[in-house]
């Protein structure tokens, strides 16, 4: 059922958004806003950041404390905001290029620190805004403007990367299975610690057109058909898994959060002169 309260969280005067017709970014933002509304988080106490690219325009549409930073570096700004004002809920929206190409180093270190930032990665497997160049998540053999003979690189598995780097909440959802998407975003928002939600998105304009999926529904099908629930995934053979990816929650652990630990172990000790 449509919930008109979500408008309270949007800068409706900034709409319509700039995304192409059929782009899945709006679906993800919709889910994010619904989740915030559901959890009744005070919008004055939310900071939303982004890097550069199509996903980077997200904060502009949200009626919160918003920061459109530099390419790939949004997590560094988010780290400063969270440390200096821990009472804020800090949400960082990134594209695949932001998160695991130019910002890959910041990403793994934020995971390792387990700082309470919610990283929502819009993974459309391409650099959309700059014209369809291949990204670190473009599947092998798919086409991009800088891979005119097909991509020869091996893509990153963002979930495995986040897990390996130590994030305490890691989930993957997609722009088609909305129930799961809402669910994992809500869980990430409620989790204390570095939370990663990789959302398999679409880019009909730059990825689809180059890969025989120029209609938005074809791209959504492409995502939906490959997305396999974690439970089913576990029962599948290596052969069956080829070209597909699991969706669900991969890590959900309670671990000491960075800023709290700093306050407890550093500030308290420093004030007591305990060194």
């Amino acid at each position: 059922m449509f919930n008109e309260h979500i408008f309270d969280y949007l800068r409706t005067d900034k709409l319509p958004h700039i995304w192409c017709p059929g782009c899945a970014h709006g679906i993800i933002v919709g889910s994010l806003v619904r989740s915030i509304e559901k959890l009744k988080i005070d919008k004055n106490k939310i900071a939303v950041l982004s890097g550069i690219g199509c996903s980077g325009r997200t904060p502009g549409y949200l009626d919160m404390n918003t920061l459109h930073t530099t390419h790939g570096r949004s997590l560094t700004f988010a780290t400063g905001i969270k440390m200096a004002k821990p009472e804020l809920t800090v949400i960082d929206v990134m594209g695949d290029g932001d998160a695991v190409a130019i910002g890959g180093n910041h990403f793994i270190h934020a995971c390792r620190r387990n700082i309470d930032i919610k990283a929502i990665i819009f993974n459309n497997n391409i650099y959309g805004m700059t014209g369809g160049q291949y990204s670190p998540t473009t599947p092998t053999n798919y086409y991009a403007s800088t891979a005119p003979y097909g991509n020869v690189e091996t893509p990153f598995d963002i979930v495995k990367l986040a897990k390996g780097a130590g994030a305490s909440f890691v989930a993957r959802a997609d722009a088609f299975h909305i129930g799961l998407l809402d669910n994992v975003i809500q869980k990430a928002l409620s989790h204390k610690g570095f939370s990663v939600v990789e959302v398999m998105a679409t880019c009909p304009t730059q990825f689809g057109r180059r890969n025989k999926m120029k209609e938005p529904y074809q791209m959504l099908d492409f995502v939906a058909e490959r997305a396999i629930s974690l439970k089913k995934w576990q029962e599948m053979s290596e052969e069956e898994r080829k070209g597909k990816f699991p969706i669900g929650i991969f890590v959900d652990e309670q671990r000491e959060e960075y800023v709290e630990t700093y306050e407890k172990n550093v500030i308290e000790r420093a004030k007591k002169g305990d060194r």
Partner: protein, 379 residues
């Protein structure tokens, strides 16, 4: 009661930063500035502030800018290669008008260069390192005492003008230990950024109605505004409308240049009757001070002009001095950077601009300056 303490330039930065009310430091280890990070790691938590060593230099300044947006005074420090890496975010702070202090302890370059040797090779990078047209404030101390003082000023200027301020020291000043007079905290002027006085719904983070420097609200207090590195209108939202962008660019320029008289600091010694004026800054100015005294003993009328505010450069002052003296001698630890600015200032007058500089890691001594003075003055 003022205290007298022995400390290094890097220690002085830490001490003054804490006294200025700095509450956040984001950085990355690099020689010869690491002692600033170490000092801040120790001192900040004592006053409830926070320190983080980020995964790289870009992250260090990014975190500091983020923290500043919540309303706290923030800083980072670096040297040479690290300063290069920070440039994109310096531009972001210029565009977003976010107060932050960046200390760059200059070392030999280019590239990894000579990490433990002094240099003044980053002077032009401080001015033009980030892309795009912009103004920047850079201050350069010539002693530990002055490092202490200018750290306060750097925080004050960044807060007053909502802008990144660069404190440009060098390896000599940073590592040299000198006596520093430290007064009671209450005797230092400490300026905090102006917060908005309008109702939250009416707040525009880049509103030019209130003068050249719009008030900055902290994140999390109900103002809910937007900041982007894109050109933007007064509300902070992206705009590429030429008139809007023109207005923004002009205000960003004017807020620094039209306020320059408030921080146009320099020192002059014996310039009134000088026939030759040495232009030197930072540690090299110490040699120059000695050299002009020695020159006077030989009856050469030498004086010193020492810019303290290096950027924006004071071309007008050079112009005035150029009408008085016969010659300038610019001396700096590089192959010629500020000398170009002096030439600009002296343009159109007959006063000749001479140069003594090098970039091999060797300090420029008083004796060398004196012999150059003799050479230039034909004695």
């Amino acid at each position: 009661m003022p205290n007298i303490e022995l400390m290094s330039g890097n220690d002085a930065v830490v001490r003054a930063a804490i006294m200025s009310g700095c509450k956040f430091y984001g950085g990355y280890p690099i020689t010869p500035s690491s002692e600033i990070a170490e000092g801040m790691a120790k001192e900040l938590p004592k006053v409830g502030g926070k320190f983080i060593q980020m995964e790289d230099e870009i992250g260090g300044i990014g975190a500091a800018i983020g923290a500043s947006l919540t309303g706290v005074k923030s800083m980072t420090a670096t040297s040479g290669p690290g300063f290069s890496l920070k440039q994109e975010h310096i531009g972001f702070a210029v565009m977003g008008e976010i107060p932050i202090v960046i200390v760059n302890v200059m070392r030999g370059g280019p590239s990894t260069g000579m990490p433990t040797y002094p240099s003044q090779g980053d002077v032009m990078q401080a001015r033009w390192g980030t892309h795009g047209d912009h103004q920047i404030i850079a201050l350069t101390p010539c002693s530990v005492q002055e490092t202490f003082k200018l750290t306060f000023e750097a925080f004050n200027l960044s807060e007053m003008y909502r802008t990144p301020v660069i404190l440009l020291t060098d390896e000599i000043i940073a590592h040299m230990r000198e006596k520093v007079i430290i007064d009671d905290a209450k005797n230092y002027k400490i300026i905090d950024r102006v917060k908005p006085s309008v109702r939250r719904e009416q707040y525009k983070p880049f509103d030019s109605k209130h003068g050249l420097v719009p008030p900055l609200a902290p994140y999390g207090e109900g103002y809910r505004f937007h900041i982007t590195g894109l050109t933007h209108d007064e509300t902070g939202f992206p705009s590429s409308d030429h008139n809007t962008v023109e207005k923004l660019q002009k205000r960003l320029r004017d807020k620094i240049l039209k306020n320059r008289k408030n921080f146009d600091w320099y020192e002059e010694r014996m310039v009134d009757d000088a026939e030759i004026i040495i232009v030197a800054y930072g540690s090299v100015a110490r040699s120059a001070m000695r050299a002009i005294k020695d020159a006077r003993r030989e009856n050469i009328k030498a004086g010193l002009f020492r810019p303290i505010t290096l950027w924006p450069f004071n071309h007008e002052r050079i112009k005035k001095l150029s009408k008085r003296c016969k010659k300038f001698l610019v001396t700096e630890m590089n192959l010629g950077q500020i000398v170009g600015e002096v030439e600009k200032g002296a343009c159109g007058v007959k006063t000749k601009v001479n140069f003594l500089g090098r970039a091999n890691g060797e300090f420029i001594t008083p004796t060398e300056i004196l012999s150059k003075i003799r050479e230039v003055m034909n004695v």
